[in-house]
Structure formats: C-alpha cells, structure tokens
C-alpha cells in the first residue's frame, strides 16, 4: 500500500474534484442532487467536528446554524437581495448568534453542554413555527422559484472543499492545538497560557459559518424550508453521527462518515422511509459503546491515516529528519 501517501492523496483529491466538476455534463439531475446533498451533509459534519471533535464539546445544536442560515437567506431572498449578499448577511447573522450563545453555553461542560445545545434547536423550531409573519410558520417558507441545480451544485462543492481545507489547516495550526488542549484538559490548558474561553467561543463561531452558508445554498436550491427540515432531529443528528462514525477530530473522519451514511440513507430511503432516523439513534448508541474513536481509529485503519498525515498528528518525522541534518 505504498501509494497511500500525502502527495498521492492530494492528487486523488484533485482528480475527484475534477470528476465532480464535470458531473453536470454527464449525469442525471438525480445524481447531481445526490452529490449536492452529500456535499451539504459533509460540510455540516466537518464544521460540527470543529467543536465536537477538536474542541471536544458535543454540540448537538449544530443544525441551529444550518437552520438560521437557511431561514435568513430565504427571508433575504424574498426581499430581493441578491444571492451573494443574502448568503453573506445570513452568515454574518448566524456567526453573531453563535458568538452570543457561546457565552452562556460554554459555562457548561460535557453532557450539560450537549443537552443545552440540543434544547436550543427545540427552541428554534418553536420560534420558526410561531413567528408566522417572518418565517411563514409551520407551513414553511418558499423562495423565488427557478432551476438553480447546477450553480447550487457548484456552490455546495466550493463550500464543502472550503470546509475540508479549513478543517485540514485547523488540525495543524496554533488555534487547532489550543482546541485539542482544551479537549484534553481544560484546566491544564489554561495554566499553560491558553485563553480557553475566547478560543471556545471563536471555534463555535467558525464552525457556524460553513453550516450557515450551506443552509443558505440548500434553501436557494430547494426553494423551500420548513421548521422541521431546518431544526428537526434528522438534520441535527446526522452530522454528529457522520463525524462520530468516521472519527472525530480528524479531517478525514467526517468525510468517511458522511459518504458511508449518505449511501446507507439512500438505500434505506428506497426501502423504508423514516426508518433512517431510528438507524441514526441505534448507530449513535452502538458507536458510543463499541467504537468511540470512529472507523478511522480502528486498529487496521489508524496507521494508514497517520501515514497520510491526515490524522490529528502532524507528521513530525519529516521535520525531525530535517532537524538532524
């Protein structure tokens, strides 16, 4: 397996992107839709992983950012803002919201944090249902119709690859190191000079940005958003399950998890609708019990991941080599 090296991996990634970029010319709109949804989920899983994996705070309310981004983009689009401006403003709004809620939420830890964030999506769903004159209530909100599939597809690709790059560089930056140290032991991190609160807050804001963007792109493409689609259980849990299934705290982890789950989901949707949410629940329990590190951290995959240098470990071996010369 000597071809598994970082350089080749870049090559594979670029090839993969080229194929995806050429897809609208080749494939049916169903396939496009499928890849589009996968890119959306991948972005959500990867951005969830910034807080859930690197920082080690299980943010069950990550879909709040998705839903807020979607709703505010939809509202702005309905008020004749251009797509770019709508996406931008929606993202700024969502990021600001994340910054504000980070203040009370990061006073909590562990299960309490997870519970509080989970409560937030419940609150959001109620708000979206009841603020009828703004959000359209339980009937949902529609945006100007049109065939946006191909541009939306490209936008989602850009968002997904942007998030991959963000997560990749986060894994080897000073900021990422601070998040990892907070995950390991917050008190010790503080006593070694890491200003924990600003970093936690900032990581929540950063993770909200891709989710919000992708929410906006999603609603623009589908031209419809309902409270349950934006803040429901499915959109809330699937990124978490994806990240955990692949392996949290590793860029490649949510990637593998998202691919795996969208595939399974596709099969399940065809066979038994609505059964997949049950599957998520079961998967989450099983993962926690038997595979807390995720697929990539299993004994037979982890060495490969580390060799590629895509794990959380930076490949110091090379750097060490240069040191000794």
């Amino acid at each position: 397996m000597s071809w598994i090296q970082r350089k080749n991996l870049y090559l594979i990634a670029i090839l993969f992107l080229c194929v995806l970029a050429a897809l609208p010319l080749l494939a049916s709109s169903y396939a496009l839709m499928w890849v589009f949804l996968m890119a959306v989920y991948l972005t959500l899983a990867l951005s969830y992983d910034i807080v859930g994996g690197f920082l080690g705070y299980m943010n069950l309310g990550h879909s709040t950012s998705f839903g807020l981004g979607a709703y505010s983009t939809a509202i702005l689009l309905n008020h004749d803002f251009g797509l770019a401006l709508a996406l931008f403003l929606a993202t700024v709004f969502t990021a600001a919201f994340a910054a504000i809620v980070s203040y009370p939420f990061f006073r909590l830890r562990g299960a309490y944090f997870a519970l509080a964030t989970f409560g937030l999506i419940g609150l959001m769903e109620v708000l979206a249902t009841n603020l009828q004159h703004v959000t359209g209530g339980s009937g949902g909100i529609s945006t100007p119709p049109g065939d946006y599939m191909v541009p939306a597809y490209y936008l989602s690709l850009v968002a997904a690859s942007g998030t991959v790059i963000l997560s990749y560089f986060l894994g080897r930056s000073r900021f990422g190191l601070a998040l990892l140290s907070i995950r390991e032991d917050e008190e010790v991190a503080r006593s070694f000079g890491v200003p924990t609160f600003p970093y936690k807050s900032l990581s929540l804001v950063i993770s909200s940005v891709p989710a919000s963007l992708v929410g906006g792109i999603y609603v623009w493409n589908i031209t419809y958003m309902s409270p349950s689609a934006a803040f429901g259980l499915e959109i809330a849990l699937s990124p978490v399950v994806m990240a955990m299934l692949g392996g949290t705290g590793i860029t490649l982890g949510p990637f593998v998890g998202a691919a795996f789950i969208t595939l399974i989901q596709e099969l399940l949707w065809i066979k038994v609708a609505y059964f997949h949410v049950t599957i998520y629940g079961i998967l989450l329990v099983l993962l926690g019990l038997f595979m807390p590190g995720g697929l990539l951290r299993t004994r037979w995959l982890w060495p490969v991941v580390q060799r590629i240098g895509f794990g959380e470990k930076i490949d110091y071996f090379k750097k060490q080599g240069t040191l000794q010369t």
Binding site: L180, E184, F192, G193, P195, Y316, K319, Q320
Partner: protein, 251 residues
Amino acid sequence: MTYLLECKGITKNFGGLGALKDINIQVTKGEIIGIIGPNGAGKTTLFNIIAGALPPSYGKVFFKGHEISEKPAAEVCRLGIARTYQIVRPFNSLTTLENILIGLSFGRIKPPTYKKRIIEAMNILTFMGLGTKANNAAETLTLVEKKYLEMARAMATSPEILLLDEVLSGLGPAETVRAMDTIRQIQTLGVTVIMIEHVLRVIMELCHRVIVLNYGVKIAEDRPNKVASNPEVVEAYIGNFGMDEQETLHA
C-alpha cells in the same frame, strides 16, 4: 526593593476550612526554594494561588511588583510563572511533542514560526531526555517520563518562575539524582524554582531556602540545615510522641 515574587498575607478558606493563614513569602531571582510540610499543610493550595488557578480569600501575590492575584491562570502563565501538577496531567491523547508545542505556542516567549517552534520543542525534549519519544502519545509514557514531560511542558512556556509540585516523588534513587541534576540545570538557565517536596535529601542538597507549612501556617523559613534541626518542624513531621505519652499517663 521589589522581589521577583512576593506573597503578602495570603489566606485561603474553603468554606469553613482554613487552608492557608496569612502566608508571607519573598522570592528573589535565581533561588531554589523548597516548600515542605505534612499532608494537607496547604502547599499545593499555595501553588494554585500563585499560578492563578485559585483566587486567594485575602492577601495579594505580586510578580515583579505587579499584582497578579486577580489575573486568570492563562495570563499568569504568559507573564512567566509555569507550574507542574502533583498528579501528572499531560494532554493524554496528544503526542509528547504536541504537549510541548502547546506550552511553546502560548507561553511567555513564542517562537515566531511553526518551524522554529518544532526545533525549540525538540531541543526541550532532548534536554529533558524525551527526544526519542516525540511522536509517542503522552499516555503511553512511563510515570517517570510523564514527570519529565510535565517539567518540559512548563519549561516550554519560558517561565521566570517554575513551580514544581512533587516532581521527585515516586522516583527511584538513580532517577532522583538525574532529576535533581535537571532541576539544577534549569536553575542555571536563569529560572527561579519553587518546589514542593517530601524527599528531605533533595531539599537539603538543592534548595537555598526552605519554607515549612503546617496546617496552613508558615512555621519556619530558613536554610535547609537549620530547618531540619528546628524543633517545631521536627514536631510537625514526627509528632510529639514523648509529650503525648506523658500527658496521657497523667490523665
């Protein structure tokens, strides 16, 4: 004269329990100071207060003449006070090198580039004898190595004062000698060392000055040989069996 570190009237109460009562300590640059005392004497509490992990109930801590007792731990570390933990607390699933990098990236002096940080981290690891373990996860190290990792991580923040909380306990005789050497070397780098220790031999050989705490009160402060013969210190450590026996006999 401003001292490097000065504790003025430090008092700490945990609820009704008085952990520290009116502690005054002055530290000048370049010293190695030992803090000894029986279990529960308040030694670690004192460290926690100096390092900013706990606020004192009363009293103030000054570092180079500036008050630091209100500052959060992260800022105290950036000013130049680093600590180790009595029960080792490395960032377990990170590698040894990453543990050091965290100290380097957020300490008092930060090497400007990533590459310089790696080089500096490797230097520190080699200095501490952990060079070959750079890529091992911290949780896989032995206890002795973890103790060195604690010191290495603290040194990575380029401290002016290093607080060592029982780094030598649990080490074998040969390891103790090596660790003492390391501490001496740290001191020659211009770092002032304050250490909590139970091994009296180490205190006698290393420290310039010893502070003895008992039930949160400073009962002695002197050169090591004088402290060892101080009757109050002996009593605190060994107890006053003779007197107790007489008293119980009379009763």
